[in-house]
Symmetry: C2
Subunit: 517 residues, 2 copies
C-alpha cells in the first residue's frame, strides 16, 4: 500500500513490520469485560411470557418433577412441597417457587484466582466459557479420537490464552484417567495452567468436596471465605422431561450449600424430550429450571444460580439433534425473555451439528451466537471448540470460535462520536475522487481503528494462493499449535502448586472418588 | 428412530420415505414474501443520526460533489444547485435535498414478469438479490476463471430456482461476450430463464434503452405502462469520495426518467475512500447517496430509489478491503438508521473477503447478514454467491448462502402461540423421563414443525463418514450441479421468446451498444 505521502508510507511500513503480538495485546484488554450494548430481541409478547411462566408453575404444581435423590426430596418436602415417595414425584406450589425467585440473586461476581479474571454475572454482561463435555477430540490432522488428559490440558491452555474466554471449562473427558481420579487431574490442570474460575462436575458429593478443597487451597481461602462468594461453577442438566437425577440433585445441593454457582440448564430437544412446539419446549424447560432453582434456594437462600436455556430441535426424519437452526435462535430469544421475566442471569450456548469444522459449523455457530447475544445472554457455554452436536471438541473450531467471539467483543465497543470523529475536514483534505490513507484524520487513528483478525485472511487471491491456498480451518490448525507451543502458564507460588499436587497424590492414594450416578 | 409406538413408527417411516422435494416445496412458499419481525438495531442516538444528516447536508452545500456528466450538471443547475463547470463541482443546498426526500417514495412494488414474483419494497420487507458484478467465477473442481455467458446463465438458473432469491441479478461478467453485446445476452438469459425482475447495468443510455425495450417486449407493456411502475432495477455506485462518474450519472437520469428503480449505493471503505471513523464514513456515504437521490428526484419527482449502504473497512496494514467485520456490522446498523431517518428503503449486502467458500466465508457472511437483517435491510444485494471481496462468484457459496438465507426466512416466521401450542397435555402424556415422538401433540405437527436444511448434514459421524465425510462446501457442489441438471425454465409464450431473440439479433447486427465510461 502506498499513500502517496512518503511520511505516511514510512509510518505504515513501520507498522507492517511491527510486533503483531504486541498490537493484539493492546486491543485484547476490552475482551475481559464484555457488555452487550443492544436491547435484547423478543419473539414473545409480555403476556405470552407470563402465560408460559404460569403454565410452568402449573406443571410444577400439578404434574411435578421426578427427583431421584432422597435427600433432595426431603429438602423439598421440608420446605413445603408435596412429595410422593412411591413415584418420587415432587409437586412444588407456586408460593415456594416465588419465594425462591425472591432470594436468587440477579447479579453476583464469579471470583477467579487472578482478581482481573473475576467476572460480573448480571444482565447486559457477557461471560464466555469454552466447550464442555465431549468424550472425543478432533483435529484435521489426527481426526476424531478419545479425549485424554493431554487434550484436556491443551484445551485449558487455549482457554487461558484468549481473553475472550472468561472461565475455564469442562472441555473434554480425559478418558485415559480413571473416573475416580478424573476430577482431581482436571482440577489440577485448571488451577496450575490458568488463573480463570474453574469448572466442577456435579458427579456426587465426594468429587465436589475434593474440588472445592483444591479451589480453597489454590486461593488460600478459609472455608467461610470460600463460601462467601462463588469461586467455581457447575452445570446442572435436568433429565428432561421433568426429572432430576441423583448427581444433578446432589450437585444443586452441594453447590448451593457452598455458595458456588449452579447453571441450571434443562436440555430440551423439541419433538424428542420436550413438546415439538417452541412455547411447549420452553415452558417445560422453564418448569425444570424453576424446580432446580427452587431446590438451590431451599438449601441456601441467596445461592448464586443461572437460568440455563438449551432448547433446540431434532430432525423429525432421523431423530438427529440439530443446533444453530432457525428454531434454535427463536428458542434462544424466548429463553432470554423468560430469564429476564424472573430476573436471573441467562446462560446460552455456541453450538452446531457439523461433523467437521467447515462452513456448516461456522454458520450454525454464528446463528447460535447471534441468538444468544441478541437474546441477551450473560453466560455463554461451549463458547469455543464445540463440534458434532457436542460429541467432539475440535482444536480448529476452538480457534474459529475465538475469532467469532472477538468479532462480537469488538462489535460491543461503543462508537466514538463527535464532530471531530465525523471529520468533515478530512473529507475536504481528501477531495472528490481522492483518498484518505494520508489524511491527518486517518494518521491519528489508524493504529487502533479496526479489529485485527486472528484467522481471517484478507490477502488477495494471488498472495493467498502462493501461501498454500489454506482454508480458515487449515490456518486455525497452525494457530492452535503455535499457542500450545508458546504457552506460558501464569506465574504461581510454587508452594501452592506443591500443596495442590500433594492433595491430588493423597486423594489418589486413598482411591479418589468414583462418580455417583 | 423408534418412537416405541408402532403406529407412530409407521408414520415416521412413511415420512422418511416420502418425497423430499415435495416436502421442501410445501415449506418454500413463505420465502417469497419476507417480513422482518424484529425492531432494527441502533448504534447511534437519534441526535447522532441527525448530526450526521446535517453534516452530510453541509458537505453537499459547502464541498459539493464532482459530477462528470454535463447533462447531470445541467439538471442539477436547472433545479437550483450551484455548479462550477471548470471544476465540475455541484453544490446542492439543503432545500433541494429536502425537496427530493419529500418526493422519493418510501414504498413501492418492483413488478416481475410473473405476478407472484413481484416484490413490495418498503420498511420491514426484505427482498434478496444474487451476487452481482464479479469478473470471475469459481467452483471447487475447476477453480477460479473468467466468467462466461454459460456461467451467467447458470447463476440465473440458480437465482430463479430458489424462492428466497427474489430478483435476478448481475451475477457475473460474461467475458466471452464482447462488451457491446453483453447487455443483450444477459438480458435475454434473465428473461428466458426466469420470471423474476431483472437487473440492468447503468453503462450508458444506449445499453439501458435496449434493456428497457427487452423488458417491455417480454411483459407486453406499452412505454407508458412500463414507465408507470418499476419493472427493473440498477445499482448506482458513486465514485467515493464525492464523485459521480458519467455512466452512473446517466444511469440515475435514465432510470428515473423511466420510473425504474435505482439503488444508489456509495461504496465507502473507511480509511481508504472515506474517513477512517464510522461516523465519518457513514456521513460521507450519506452525502453521496443524497446527491444521487436528489438527481433522481430532479429528473422525475417520485422516481423509485433505494438508499444503498456499503461501508466497510480496510486492513490498515495492507490496504486490503475487509467485509463482514465488526466495523462492517456497526456500519450496517448505522446505515439502516440513516435510511429510516430519511424514510427510504435501505439496501445492504451479504459479503465476505475469503478466497474460498470455507468457514471464513461463512462467518463473515453471517456477520454481514445479521448486520443487514438486524439493521432493518429492505434490499439485500449479493445475497448469494459473492466471494473474494466481490472478485469471484462461487457456485458453492451460492448454495451455502441460500441455506443461510432460508434459515433467516424461517426465523422470520411467527411462532404460533396458544395453550394448545404449549401442550401441557403432551407433557403429561410423555411423563417424567419419557419421550414426545409419539405424543398426539407431536404427531399433529411433525411434518412441518422444523426447517428442512438444504446442505447442512445432521447425521451422526459414522453415517457422515461412510458417505464420504464431505464438507458443507463439497455437498454444495453436488447441489448446484443437480439444480442445473434438472432446471426447467418457467413456461413462456414462444412468440415472446422469438421476439426477444430477434431483438437481440437485430441489435447485434447493428453493432450492439458499447458501454459508456
Amino acid at each position: 500500500m502506498s499513500t502517496g505521502d512518503p511520511r505516511a508510507d514510512r509510518r505504515i511500513r513501520r507498522r507492517t513490520a511491527s510486533d503483531n503480538v504486541a498490537n493484539q495485546a493492546a486491543r485484547s484488554e476490552p475482551y475481559r469485560r464484555l457488555v452487550i450494548p443492544f436491547e435484547p430481541m423478543r419473539i414473545f409478547s409480555d403476556d405470552q411470557v407470563e402465560t408460559m411462566h404460569r403454565a410452568a408453575l402449573r406443571i410444577l404444581e400439578e404434574i411435578g418433577v421426578r427427583v431421584l435423590l432422597p435427600e433432595a426430596r426431603q429438602r423439598y418436602k421440608a420446605a413445603g412441597a408435596s412429595v410422593d415417595e412411591a413415584s418420587r414425584m415432587v409437586r412444588i406450589d407456586r408460593g415456594l417457587v416465588e419465594q425462591a425467585l425472591r432470594t436468587a440473586p440477579p447479579a453476583f461476581d464469579l471470583v477467579a484466582p487472578a482478581p482481573h479474571r473475576s467476572q460480573h454475572i448480571a444482565q447486559k454482561h457477557l461471560s464466555v466459557i469454552p466447550v464442555g463435555g465431549p468424550p472425543h477430540v478432533t483435529d484435521i490432522e489426527r481426526g476424531k479420537r478419545s479425549g485424554t488428559l493431554e487434550d484436556f490440558r491443551n484445551f485449558a491452555k487455549l482457554s487461558q490464552q484468549y481473553d475472550v474466554i472468561h472461565f475455564l471449562g469442562a472441555c473434554i473427558e480425559p478418558q485415559d484417567i480413571p473416573p475416580e481420579f478424573r476430577h482431581l487431574e482436571t482440577m489440577l490442570a485448571m488451577l496450575t495452567l490458568g488463573d480463570k474460575a474453574p469448572f466442577i462436575y456435579g458427579r456426587g458429593g465426594p468429587q465436589v468436596r475434593d474440588c472445592f478443597e483444591m479451589v480453597r487451597i489454590n486461593a488460600g481461602l478459609s472455608e467461610s471465605q470460600f463460601k462467601a462468594q462463588p469461586h467455581s461453577y457447575t452445570v446442572i442438566n435436568t433429565n428432561s422431561p421433568l426429572q432430576l437425577d441423583i448427581p444433578m440433585s446432589q450437585g444443586i445441593i452441594d453447590f448451593a450449600a457452598a455458595g458456588q454457582l449452579s447453571i441450571i440448564t434443562p436440555f430440551t430437544l423439541a419433538g424428542a424430550m420436550a413438546p415439538i412446539t417452541l412455547p411447549g419446549a420452553l415452558t417445560q424447560a422453564h418448569a425444570e429450571a424453576l424446580a432446580g432453582i427452587t431446590l438451590a434456594q431451599i438449601v441456601r437462600a441467596g445461592a448464586p444460580v443461572s437460568y440455563g436455556g438449551f432448547t433446540s430441535n431434532v430432525d423429525m426424519k432421523s431423530g438427529a439433534p440439530a443446533f444453530g437452526t432457525p428454531e434454535y435462535v427463536k428458542a434462544a430469544f424466548g429463553a432470554g425473555q423468560l430469564a429476564r421475566h424472573i430476573n436471573l442471569p441467562w446462560r446460552s450456548s455456541n453450538v452446531n451439528a457439523s461433523n467437521i469444522a467447515d462452513a456448516q459449523a461456522a454458520y450454525e455457530s454464528e446463528m447460535s451466537l447471534w441468538g444468544a447475544i441478541m437474546g441477551g445472554c450473560n453466560i455463554l457455554i461451549h463458547g469455543a471448540g464445540w463440534l458434532e452436536g457436542g460429541l467432539a471438541a475440535s482444536y480448529e473450531k476452538f480457534i474459529l470460535d475465538v475469532e467469532m467471539l472477538q468479532m462480537f467483543a469488538e462489535l460491543f465497543r461503543p462508537v466514538p462520536f463527535s464532530e471531530d470523529e465525523i471529520g468533515v475536514e478530512a473529507i475536504v483534505e481528501a477531495g472528490p475522487g481522492g483518498h484518505f490513507f494520508g489524511t491527518a484524520h486517518t494518521m491519528a487513528r489508524y493504529e487502533k481503528a479496526f479489529y485485527t483478525p486472528l484467522v481471517s485472511d484478507w490477502r488477495n487471491f494471488g498472495a493467498w494462493t502462493e501461501d498454500g491456498a489454506k482454508t480458515a480451518t487449515e490456518r486455525a490448525n497452525g494457530l492452535w499449535k503455535k499457542v500450545l507451543k508458546e504457552f506460558v502458564a501464569p506465574a504461581k507460588d510454587p508452594a501452592v502448586t506443591e500443596a495442590l499436587e500433594s492433595f491430588v497424590a493423597r486423594r489418589r492414594s486413598e482411591g479418589g472418588a468414583p462418580p455417583v450416578s
